[in-house]
Symmetry: none
Subunit: 234 residues, 2 copies
């Protein structure tokens, strides 16, 4: 077996040292970073087979970084988190991570997951990318997540703003699951826009530009994507 290169992104020095030592014993080549900047630099610096990414990185947001990396590269990512709050957040995200494990974890379990992800990546290199090629079809409407294009039944093209697109993506990542406003807001911002009804407006605008029935209201709960999502792996 070839030597796999892992990039460990973790700001807790003690944890990082422990993990690195363990993984090296297991035969991985481990490089480390403790911030967003460091991670991106390490990625530019050399080949990385898999990233082990902590969600909470002091200043930086692991989820944000994950998306950032994914936008550019196709490296497998395994996320690590200590807080159950993060779990909540990640449930609503189109994170793009290949796997996910909670601290505290059994080292062997972590190892198993890393190996599984690597195996998968070798077998189907583009699999991690395929998640993004979600195509939404709804009563003649079409949304191609890859091209970011919304097509109306008549063949017209509708232009969505970035925020509207983001909202659509969030729903796309969670078809048929009711999402609360908090979940949606968390997935969209990092800021907590606490008081207002921004999400309501967003949903309203998206409805107006597409189809009012596309997003169903779950009274007292939130909203649900009322369409099914197919993924065309072209």
């Amino acid at each position: 077996m070839s030597l796999h290169r892992l990039l460990l992104v973790e700001d807790d020095a003690e944890m990082a040292a422990m993990l690195a030592a363990y993984l090296q014993r297991q035969g991985f080549h481990v490089s480390r970073a403790d911030s967003r900047a460091g991670a991106l630099e390490a990625l530019r610096a050399g080949r990385v087979d898999l990233i082990l990414l902590d969600v909470s990185l002091g200043e930086d947001d692991g989820v944000q970084i994950c998306a950032e990396i994914r936008a550019a590269q196709d490296v497998p990512i395994v996320m690590v988190s200590a807080l159950s709050a993060d779990h909540q957040r990640m449930a609503g995200y189109e994170v793009g991570a290949d796997d996910y494990i909670a601290k505290p974890f059994n080292p062997d379990l972590l190892l198993a997951r890393i190996r599984a992800v690597l195996r998968r990546a070798r077998r189907a290199p583009s699999l991690t990318h395929r998640r993004r090629d979600a195509i939404l079809r709804f009563q003649g409407w079409r949304y191609d997540a890859r091209r970011d294009e919304v097509t109306a039944p008549g063949g017209w093209q509708v232009s969505l703003s970035s925020r509207e697109t983001a909202l659509l993506r969030v729903f796309l990542a969670n078809p048929l699951i009711p999402l609360t406003r908090e979940e949606i807001a968390a997935a969209l911002d990092h800021d907590e826009a606490a008081g207002g009804r921004a999400i309501d407006m967003l949903v309203g605008r998206l409805r107006q530009k597409t189809d009012p029935a596309l997003i169903r209201t779950e009274r007292g709960t939130g909203y649900v994507l009322a369409a099914e999502v197919s993924r065309d792996d072209a």
Copy 2:
């Protein structure tokens, strides 16, 4: 919160072990099977609240099994698949699965979906039956559970609120069986089953919008759906 029993049908031992461990940590009772035969036996053996079914099961075909189970029982089924080709086949939940998720998946996302399906199943037992279009006919009235449409004798369409629809579904799932207010409230996920007479109001409103005779009062007990339900297996 009661302990939900999951049946995990997965032939990859490693994956099965990992999933089972994770789900047990999350408070589920997990039993496992690795084949069609095992799955059917486990179903006969005891109560199962939800089935987590891998599409690719070596010899056996998950989709086939899903249909088989559905023909006999009304257990919620969440399908798991690794291959995009399976997605194509499963598109539209034609198999009768309540949800499906692609490998590799975010464990929390899986959890969210499992919970969503369980919630749905509890709230409206007949919802899982959707594939078999429950159609209620009553003196010219018609209710199509799939389209959520109520049609009056004259052909008019009546619009029910979400709560009213939910109530109708509860009756639909228990035709000709008298239901106490407590049972109805429980099925509706009505937290405060306390002193109020919310159910009375609901029934009253449903009667007013449809036909007063549709729901008969069992004095001292509760209410009964006074119509027969046919299921058009389209």
